[in-house]
């Protein structure tokens, strides 16, 4: 069965389950598939003209930035907001999170009707409203039919945010002990990024399906649902799905007694010249988009950055028909030795590593190598790489680049949870009031600690409970450590919440193993000095607001930079530039203001009966 969608007025037949971002990428095609001859490789210099590259169809610019630059998706998982499109006349839709529906009308920045666009000449000081052209005057924000929102109030014992391995493991453990649970995820299906629903079955199909089935059969799963506010005082979460995600708004208020944060991690992007070109995306981002239906076959891809995700994604993209031009890990080979030693103690991981190495047979794999700049006309066409001694150019249609993962701690910060580097002692409990049966989350608004910066996760006690009573955390959100650790933490959290501490303790050992391995990974993939050098002043740091690094560099803090330059004030709310600036400038997190994700005005309105 196929369904039809309109992209910039043209009809495209797509498969159900494909994400909008994926089908737009497919429709745009890539230069190579439009007949641009295969480049001569590493030594060659691209002379492909812009005209030859201009793709037929909607083009590669999903949106135009504040200054009018073309942009495409980078994170593939709802964080970066660069994939925003106008869908069924609603602007600012994150196309990576939305599955295609029959008859959907999709407009990119190439379409004159798109309203995600730049500010144009709106900033003109001297124009009176009468001078503004009639086109400026449309009062509609979209969606003519007034279906009216669906509103519901739900009640649950445990609310789990995030349906990846940690959330699923906890849900299953809670279900085993008949604890009522609601599991919410922004993606349409459970599984998180690692077990993201794919048009082609993923590698870990059996394990993933087993885990998902076990959790979902016995708890309530709400997919395509964004949690945008958590009120610790009232133990109430505001969440919902709106136009695009499900075709109709649904605003939910969920009351809970306890909450488990299993919101995972996102990629860390470090800015370099050209990183905003469409076709430069995250390593996990490329993987997520490919899993949701983007056809990468025939694409020439450079995979760069750092971490175990690189070879895994390179292998997966290769299996989907892509040509991996280069796999470049910034860490040096000698740095990776301790991790190799740790691998030897874990048979499963060792087997996976060996398998991966075989899958990548014939792929150029360099260590101590990293990207210097990406180049191209409206789309990435090549990337200049260095090993610290020399620089050379690699032609490519896609540069997948990510420098490790950082935990998604925003909901935790909003709840008042402390952060720490994993394993650091000193989680103190200040928030009391925990009674027999229920939990009172007593966070004093506005009183938050300054927290450690780079890659800090939510601090937890042995039962995965955070510094706020009744708030638990498990998985990457407590510090990045991979799927095995996430499952162990999720199980412990679920069992502890079910009051089964003895059973939870049985998983302590596997958690300890996971943490030791995570520590070895941290060490092995530590960013090299050269990557911590701030980029040139002209390099864009904030993609949402088009703020250059030079504009923020002289400010003394994250908040001062935000106030003066708009850095971090755009749609992604500093998710991308904030993480980069924590790494580059050591700036600390601040407590994010609500909502956790952009949400329609109408969603804030409470029912009168409540």
């Amino acid at each position: 069965m196929t369904i039809r969608v309109h992209i910039d007025g043209r009809v495209h037949e797509v498969e159900p389950g494909q994400s909008v971002a994926a089908v737009v990428l497919n429709a745009a095609g890539a230069p190579r598939r439009l007949g641009v001859p295969d480049g001569p490789g590493a030594s060659g210099v691209s002379d492909v003209s812009a005209a030859a590259c201009a793709p037929d169809g909607p083009g590669v610019a999903f949106r135009r930035s504040a200054n009018g630059q073309p942009r495409g998706p980078i994170c593939g998982m709802g964080i970066c907001h660069e994939c925003r499109l106008t869908i069924d006349d609603v602007p600012h839709e994150r196309s990576c999170l939305i599955e295609c529906r029959d008859g959907m009308n999709i407009r990119t920045a190439e379409d004159p009707g798109d309203r995600n666009g730049s500010m144009g000449d709106w900033s003109a000081k001297d124009r009176s409203p009468e001078d503004r052209s009639p086109e400026d005057r449309s009062p509609e924000i979209g969606l003519r039919e007034a279906a009216g929102p669906i509103s519901a109030h739900l009640d649950t014992d445990v609310l789990i945010l995030g349906g990846g391995p940690a959330g699923l493991a906890a849900a299953a453990a809670l279900a085993d002990h008949s604890v009522e649970t609601i599991l919410i995820d922004e993606n349409p299906s459970p599984g998180g990024q690692i077990w993201r629903r794919s048009v082609r079955p993923p590698h870990q199909e059996d394990r993933a399906n087993k885990s998902i089935r076990s959790a979902i059969a016995r708890s309530t799963f709400l997919g395509s649902t964004t949690v945008w506010d958590i009120q610790p005082r009232e133990c109430r979460a505001h969440c919902g799905a709106w136009q695009g995600q499900v075709g109709r708004e649904a605003y939910l208020r969920v009351r809970f007694r306890r909450v488990l944060l299993a919101s995972g991690a996102r990629e860390r992007f470090l800015p370099f010249p050209g990183w905003t070109l469409p076709g430069v995306m995250g390593v996990g981002g490329a993987q997520a988009l490919a899993k949701s239906g983007w056809d990468v076959s025939g694409l020439r891809i450079v995979v760069a950055g750092s971490g175990p995700l690189l070879p895994a994604v390179a292998s997966s993209l290769r299996q989907r028909g892509a040509e991996i031009r280069l796999l470049a890990e910034q860490a040096s080979r000698s740095n990776l030795l301790p991790m190799a030693a740790a691998l030897l103690t874990d048979r499963t991981k060792l087997r996976q590593a060996v398998r991966l190495r075989m899958d990548l047979g014939g792929v150029r794999w360099r260590f101590g190598t990293w990207p210097v700049r990406a180049e191209g006309d409206g789309h990435v066409q090549s990337v200049v790489m260095t090993d610290g001694r020399s620089e050379w150019k690699e032609e490519c249609d896609l540069l997948a680049v990510g420098f490790g993962l950082v935990p998604n701690v925003e909901a935790a910060l909003q709840l008042g949870c402390r952060l720490s580097k994993r394993g650091l002692p000193g989680v103190r409990r200040e928030f009391r009031g925990r009674g027999q049966g229920g939990v009172h989350c007593g966070v004093q608004g506005g009183v938050h600690d300054k927290v450690p910066g780079d890659a800090a996760g939510v601090a937890v006690d042995p039962w995965q409970e955070t510094s706020v009573a009744g708030v638990y955390a498990a998985g990457e959100v407590t510090g990045v450590g991979g799927v095995d650790l996430a499952e162990a933490e999720g199980r412990i959290a679920g069992l502890a919440m079910a009051g089964e501490r003895a059973a939870a303790e049985e998983h302590f050992q596997s958690r300890a193993r996971g943490r030791a391995f995570a520590a070895a990974l941290d060490e092995a993939f530590a960013l090299r000095r050269e990557l911590l050098v701030p980029p040139d002043d002209a390099v864009t740091i904030c993609r949402c607001e088009d703020v250059a690094f030079g504009q923020v560099a002289s400010h003394e803090s994250w908040r001062a930079a935000k106030l003066a330059t708009r850095c971090g004030m755009g749609s992604c709310q500093g998710r991308v530039c904030g993480a980069a600036l924590r790494t580059l400038k050591g700036w600390i997190h601040d407590v994010p203001r609500p909502p956790l994700s952009p949400v329609p005005v109408g969603a804030w309105i409470d029912d009168p009966e409540e």
């Binding site: 003394e556 106030l563 709310q573 804030w604």
Partner: protein, 399 residues
């Protein structure tokens, strides 16, 4: 114990402190601005940034008039990041009573020489098609504008002698991360009560700092907003909490700052919580949505029930915003006074001055405040009648 001797120390780098600094420097004084947090990071950063004429405070009309006159010339020199947009204000009426109010207001403004026009419902559809058809008409003040106040303050503090037009212009130095814990007048004991004029007084003012030696200054201006009582314990400034929200970019959706005519009525209807419709189109295409007023301590908690009331109010006027996405909601604190008038003038003791308590009008009236205070400090007779702003009234009221 004490170290440097300074000419003028200003406590607070918000728009009021910055405006006073620029004014004094323009008159030849050397100014040191001390800020405990981020530059202009308090109420100046938290509010809406409107520069508008309000006729509901007759005793402030001179302050407003002078301020707006000075804003018009300042706007010429402000950089792009100050986001000046002379979008005008539409005061919208929802019933006959408010419509009659608008007519009276038009007359009153006209007699003061303030440019304004009454807008029929039909004209309104053309000017702002997104407004609800329940709006009965409006009063338009085309010269009102919106700005981004933190960068205006930043610009004012970048004051330099070139182009100031002042023969003996002074300097401004700004120090961040300096926390002032107290201010005491006449520490040398040699000064006498008489002269407020600079140079005629022997005493100095001590500015006590946390973790640093005190500073002695000839004059100290406290422009610390809601933190003022921490430095001058009898100086009653109350935090009046407000909620604001900003949307994603919807360029072209609105063209004016729009405020409901019931605004002043709502805003000052006693001590209870109130919400009013007040929306600004920002130069980015974003919409700034406000506002609420409440006395609720200094807790920054975003109150969902108040947000719900506020959004409902906004949708009554702009139903099209139902699906506009909100990026951020935050709270801030207006420095309020018991009688709704700012505190501008000399505090107890020679050399200690206060400029704060502007509540929601501080951006607009900062420039007039600076002129008035500088005149008082110079011993000149001010253009703006100073008595109604005399800060000592709150001290007398409380003691």
């Amino acid at each position: 114990m004490t170290s440097l001797t300074r000419d003028v120390v200003i406590v607070g780098s918000g728009i009021v402190g910055a405006a006073v600094a620029a004014e004094l420097a323009g008159r030849g004084r050397d100014v040191l601005v001390l800020e405990s947090g981020e530059l202009a990071g308090g109420a100046t950063a938290e509010g809406m940034g409107h520069v508008l004429f309000l006729d509901d405070h007759p005793e402030q009309s001179e302050l407003l008039r002078v301020s707006l006159e000075r804003w018009r010339s300042l706007q010429e020199e402000l950089p792009n990041d100050a986001e000046v947009d002379v979008c005008g204000t539409l005061w919208v009426a929802t019933d006959d009573e408010e419509l009659q109010g608008a007519e009276r207001k038009a007359e009153a403004l006209g007699s003061q020489g303030i440019e304004c026009e009454l807008i029929s419902p039909r004209q309104l559809r053309n000017l702002e098609p997104a407004l609800s058809s329940s709006v009965q008409g409006a009063l338009r003040l085309p010269k009102d504008s919106v700005v981004y106040p933190p960068n205006v303050a930043r610009h004012l503090l970048k004051f330099d002698t070139r182009g100031s037009g002042c023969r003996s212009a002074g300097r401004i130095e700004t120090q961040l991360g300096v926390q002032v814990v107290g201010v005491s007048a006449d520490v040398s004991g040699a000064g006498g009560g008489a002269g407020a004029r600079a140079g005629t007084r022997a005493g100095a003012v001590e500015v006590r700092l946390r973790d640093a030696p005190s500073i002695l200054a000839r004059d100290v201006v406290v422009a610390a907003g809601i933190a003022t009582p921490e430095l001058l314990p009898d100086c009653l400034v109350l935090p009046r909490k407000g909620h604001l929200a900003i949307t994603d970019r919807y360029p072209g959706l609105l063209h004016h700052q729009i405020v409901e005519l019931g605004y002043v009525k709502n805003a000052h209807a006693g001590e209870g919580d109130s919400v009013s419709f007040n929306v600004q189109p920002r130069p980015t295409g974003q919409l700034l949505l406000g506002s609420s007023r409440q006395f609720a301590g200094r807790d920054r908690f975003v109150d969902p029930s108040l947000v719900s009331r506020l959004m409902k109010r906004i949708l009554e006027f702009l139903p099209a915003l139902d699906r506009a996405r909100i990026l951020r909601i935050w709270t801030g604190f207006r420095p309020a006074t018991p009688d709704d008038r700012p505190l501008i003038g000399r505090w107890q003791g020679d050399g200690v001055w206060v400029a704060t308590g502007h509540e929601g009008l501080g951006i607009t009236t900062s420039l007039g405040t600076a002129e008035l205070l500088a005149d008082l400090m110079d011993g000149r007779s001010p253009r703006i009648q100073p008595d109604v702003f005399d800060p000592c009234r709150v001290w007398r009221a409380t003691s």
